[in-house]
């Protein structure tokens, strides 16, 4: 069934549909995803710029607040007076306004005069100098930026800060392995403003904001840049501040729902960003999910790369777009295939139905039904085929009808002839025995010498009458006898010439002009010379009977294209006389047995019937054409090929 044209068509259409569907599916989805990815990467880069701006803005805020405080006259006089309580009040005010984690005033020798925090006046106790204070003194100018502060310093400043900065390192897959278990130092945004009295440095006002575990900046980035957009219950955008490769401030969450503080970045990013100092933009696995990420290094006030700033967009959103597109395309492809099967089926039906109808019709024709059910004629090539088939059927039917009619005619004719032949043979055979007796005794009587003249004359009449009967019976027998043709290749001209010469004497006696005009270049014809000669003699003898002295009998030979039976070449013999002609009403019966126009005793009425049979058994025809008073023409046509016209016809009777 799958080899049928119908299924081939359907499978073909389906194949094309599947191919196109699959290719467009793969290419389309991939293109779409790439475009989305590009878009996302671009967006992440911009987001990173925004995050950097927010980070710097925070730094500038601290610097501005401290600078303004340093300019205050109360503040300056308090420094001159070393009035710590006023200074501490002032520091607390500033720290409160810009949310500083630590702030203080350092004297020109670097020791801390006072500060906010649990231990505001450290006194002469030895403690490390804040690196930014040192830098500001050295430069004699305001310094601000990212700063790494040791746990020891932070602890001096405020033990709570040291506690905040201490971060336990969590084991992170794909991160660079490290020996240390925790980090004590913290990273801060800080500013230091030197306060001068003329050229003399009075003190340095410093303050800062500890980034460790402070999520102010990253959450601002998330809330402003990504506008709290969520996907699947998670924030679509994330931001992180790294100290070295450690997450110290982030809104990336661990699977347990906590901020992923203490986890570290993957080794590739660390190498690329921290060590080479370059920007990273690519998809990356962050803590527990794939993100489209951007990282850039953070440099401290000394120009050292100390950390990284990160923003990332959840890839799932874009992957989902791809998945959705994929499923839509798959649905379209499947729908297309279903449509293709349906369409193919309908199309195949439309094409195949007339074809199948034709097949059924031709099967019916082969079974002998010449008017099969055809269905309606369709358009196009199939229609042409159907019409051609119909025309073919038409001519088949016509031929069939013609053949049937012909064979019926022939059957009828041959049956007629056969029964006539059998009758003739039977009659002849039965009559011949008594006829022997009649002939014998008549002749024996005639031998007697003692007969009276009258008796002898009567006997003579009996003998003659019997002789007539004998001739009639012989003619009947000749007619009925379908002797086998004894054929051999014969020169028709020679045959005709010999027949004509046999009758030349008789023509002379009758005073009729007997002429033979031989055709040229006649081929040899395979025929029974004796039987055909008797045909010719018969026709010429008939012509003698129809002519008067002075008339002319012309015998001609020549080629003919058709013997009327088929388009075969043949040889033609005509016998034309200028005699009395044959009346039209006799023409039909001319070749019937026992038909004669001669006086009783002059002919048996069998000569032409026998001749007709002989010519027909040669596959030829014999025709007569006549006009009353103008003579008549007998035409014998003998084919060159097809000479064995049914030998079973021969020997009949």
């Amino acid at each position: 069934m799958f080899y049928s044209t119908r299924w081939r068509l359907i499978l073909g259409i389906l194949g094309v549909c599947l191919l196109v569907g699959t290719v467009s599916l793969l290419v389309g989805v991939q293109l779409l995803y790439k475009a989305f990815l590009n878009e996302a990467t671009h967006r992440v880069r911009q987001d990173l710029n925004a995050a950097r701006e927010l980070y710097n803005c925070r730094s500038r805020g601290i610097r501005t607040a401290l600078s303004i405080a340093a300019l205050g006259t109360d503040f300056r006089s308090a420094i001159r007076r070393q009035d710590t309580s006023t200074l501490i009040n002032c520091l607390r005010r500033v720290a409160g306004s810009v949310n500083l984690d630590f702030a203080g005033v350092a004297t020109a020798d670097g020791t801390t005069l006072c500060r906010i925090g649990p231990n505001p006046i450290p006194g002469q106790a030895v403690q490390p100098i804040n690196p930014i204070v040192g830098l500001a003194m050295e430069r004699g100018d305001t310094v601000s930026g990212t700063l790494v502060l040791s746990g020891e310093y932070l602890s001096g400043e405020n033990p709570a800060l040291a506690q905040r900065a201490r971060i336990e390192l969590l084991p992170t897959p794909r991160a660079e392995p490290v020996a240390e278990r925790e980090v004590a130092s913290g990273m801060a945004l800080s500013s230091a403003v030197p306060v001068f009295d003329g050229d003399e440095l009075l003190a340095v006002l410093y303050g800062g904001f500890l980034l460790s575990r402070s999520h102010e900046i990253v959450d601002t980035v998330r809330d402003t840049v990504f506008q709290q957009e969520t996907y699947g219950g998670r924030s679509i955008g994330t931001a992180t501040i790294f100290f070295r490769d450690i997450r110290i401030s982030t809104n990336v969450y661990t699977p347990s729902g906590e901020r992923a503080i203490g986890t570290r970045v993957s080794r590739e990013v660390r190498e690329y960003v921290l060590e080479k100092g370059k920007r990273w933009t690519d998809r990356a696995f962050v803590v527990n999910d794939w993100y489209i990420t951007a990282y850039e290094p953070i440099e401290d006030i000394f120009g050292e790369t100390v950390g990284m700033l990160y923003v990332g967009v959840l890839e799932a959103k874009y992957a989902d777009v791809r998945r959705k597109a994929l499923s839509v395309l798959i649905v379209i492809t499947v729908a297309g295939m279903v449509l293709a099967i349906g369409l193919g089926y309908i199309l195949a039906n439309r094409i195949m139905d007339p074809v199948n109808q034709l097949i059924r019709a031709s099967t019916q024709v082969s079974q002998g039904n010449l008017s099969p059910d055809f269905g309606s004629i369709s358009d196009g090539e199939i229609g042409v085929l159907q019409k051609t088939f119909l025309e073919m059927l038409g001519s088949l039917q016509e031929r069939d009808k013609r053949q049937k009619a012909e064979s019926e005619d022939m059957l009828l004719e041959s049956e007629k002839q056969a029964s006539l032949g059998r009758l003739a043979a039977g009659v002849a055979h039965e009559i011949n025995n008594p006829l022997t007796g009649v002939l014998t005794y008549t002749h024996m009587l005639l031998r007697r010498k003692d007969l009276g003249e009258e008796v002898r004359s009567d006997l003579q009449t009996i003998a003659e009458a019997t002789e007539r009967v004998r001739k009639i019976v012989k003619g009947l027998l000749d007619f009925s006898r379908q002797t086998q043709l004894d054929r051999e290749p014969t020169d028709v001209n020679r045959l005709v010439r010999s027949a004509v010469s046999l009758l030349e004497n008789e023509a002379l006696i009758k005073g009729v002009d007997l002429v033979f005009e031989s055709g040229e270049k006649l081929p040899m014809v395979t025929l029974d010379r004796h039987q055909l000669e008797s045909v010719l003699l018969n026709i010429i003898l008939n012509a003698f009977d129809a002519t008067k002295p002075g008339d002319r009998i012309t015998v001609t030979t020549g080629m003919t294209l058709s013997t009327d039976k088929s388009d075969q070449k043949g040889v033609e013999i005509t016998v034309t006389d200028t005699g009395c002609g044959i009346p039209p009403e006799h023409l039909d019966k001319l070749f019937d047995p026992f038909f004669t126009t001669k006086e009783v005793g002059q002919g048996t009425g069998l000569g032409l019937a026998v001749s007709y049979g002989i010519v027909e058994r040669h596959g030829g025809t014999i025709r007569v054409h006549s006009q009353i008073g103008q003579g008549c023409t007998f035409t014998i046509r003998l084919p060159l090929g097809e000479q064995d016209k049914s030998d079973e016809d021969s020997g009949r009777g």
Binding site: I431, N433, T436, G437, M444, R470
Partner: protein, 121 residues
């Protein structure tokens, strides 16, 4: 000269006897092939005149038997249905001459004399 004539039709037998006896031949008549063979076994004949078509065993059979048993006896075959096949068949069976019925006394005698190599009187 003894001649055996075989024919199923008495009129033919009588005709032959009438003609041949008048000519001085010793004529024996039988009406079927079996009688002819019996007769041929009893007497010596100089000539057989045989009809082809007879009921039961026909002339062809008779001629074949005669040819087998008495090959020296000449035969004349006669038939009321003188087709070339019949003539050829008769000659093949060993007949020296074929005459077609009906025949006149002269025709019969001519054939007989021809076969017996006698000059007609």
């Amino acid at each position: 000269m003894k001649i055996l004539v075989v024919d199923d039709d008495p009129i033919v037998l009588e005709s032959c006897k009438r003609v041949l006896a008048a000519e001085g031949f010793d004529v024996t008549l039988v009406s079927n092939a079996d009688d002819a063979l019996d007769m041929a076994a009893k007497q010596d004949f100089d000539l057989l005149v045989v009809d082809v078509k007879m009921p039961k065993r026909d002339g062809m059979y008779l001629m074949e038997e005669i040819k087998k048993q008495w090959p020296e006896i000449p035969m004349i075959v006669m038939s009321g249905y003188p087709t070339p096949e019949t003539i050829a068949g008769g000659i093949r069976m060993g007949a020296a001459k074929f005459i077609s019925k009906p025949f006149t006394p002269d025709e019969l005698l001519e054939s007989v004399h021809e076969v017996l190599n006698l000059k007609p009187r």
